[in-house]
Amino acid sequence: MTDLDATPRLGKGVKTSYDQTRESHVVLFPEGVLVLNDTAAAVVGLCDGRTTITGIAARLAEDFDGVRPEDVAELVARLVARRVVDTDG
């Protein structure tokens, strides 16, 4: 579980893009591709190294129903495990 005060950012060598073939936002990194659903894409888009998990959840709540900071933290933890997102430093 990621700390709610953490400020996640995209990892080194990670790019985001929109894939017309799959009609989805995607994350591209050295040896892989993640196809994102709308919520995940919104979270990744807010991983700017300045916004906290709590802040990301608050921004998401403007567009999505029932977003809890804990859910955002869990998603970020999964992205950290894939080395797509960094939360340290």
Partner: protein, 356 residues
Amino acid sequence: MAEAPFGLLAELTHRCPLQCGYCSNPLELVRRTAELTTDEWRSVFDQARALGVLQFHLSGGEPLARKDLPDLVGHAAGLGGYVNLVTSGLGLTAARLADLHARGVDHVQLSVQDAVRASADLIAGVKAFDHKLTAARLIGEAGLPLTVNVVLHRRNLDHVAAIIDLAERMGADRLELANTQYYGWALRNRAALLPTREQLAEAGAVVAEARGRSRMEIVYVIADYHEAHPKPCMYGWGARQLTVAPDGDVLPCPAAGVIDDLGVENVRDRPLGEIWHRSGSFTAFRGFDWMREPCRSCARKEIDFGGCRCQAFQLTGDAANTDPVCSLSPRRAEVDLILAEETTTPAVLAMRKPAR
């Protein structure tokens, strides 16, 4: 319709300054005169992107041997793809790297043969080691993410701790430690490359310890002859990635050309999307319907997809057989015999020939 592929391995050329005896290129190397032109590669990239490809692995041989590499990098990047340069590092000057970076290279994968100069140069067949140190420094100074890739085998497996240290000093973000897979030149040199079980056990412990402390992501590719179950080769045939050879042959994996009667098609003759979705070569082993026993009723088929078709062909003569490294294969005893014979007998490592 099959799912769209994520990655294109573009083998731009088979020409390479190195002569590694485990090279994954086929024994029959494509000659320079048969290589796709710049415009043909651009078209391949366009077709690949339209098909769904998001990652362009620009490889070879040595991709820097193509004078049009900057143009091709720019084209792939312009399509919105992730551009991965897979290089030996030889010929990578600061000026060339700056140009490639500016045109859109996202990541560099640099090969390293060993941690010790003399041994590394012996494996590469040329004085390559110092060039790699220089290349790593330049990549770091450019701020590009770096993966160091090391093929492991009998002659360097005992050095894996020093190899991990070297990759750290080179500033690698990722380290791929890939035990040799026996295709192409590596199959020819198998008796000189197969490690012993003891070597693998020791290296495995070193890697596990390093993973606990290193800031690098360390990927370890298993030595499948020594395993009880096969690797999930390509995550299934025609499932995620395709390879285009220097002459435009379109392959489900870099080794697939070895399978007789596969009916490999060429992008000069048929659009890439049609080859991916409808060609006999890509549909032959896609999914699960082609499987025989013991794979057909095996729960592990969802995990390993029956292993590797090329390996099944090379070792049993029939690509539709279960990968014989699997302990459930009726042909596993033949792999054990290979291990018993070839890991105990000294053999000469033959160098790869240069492509003309």
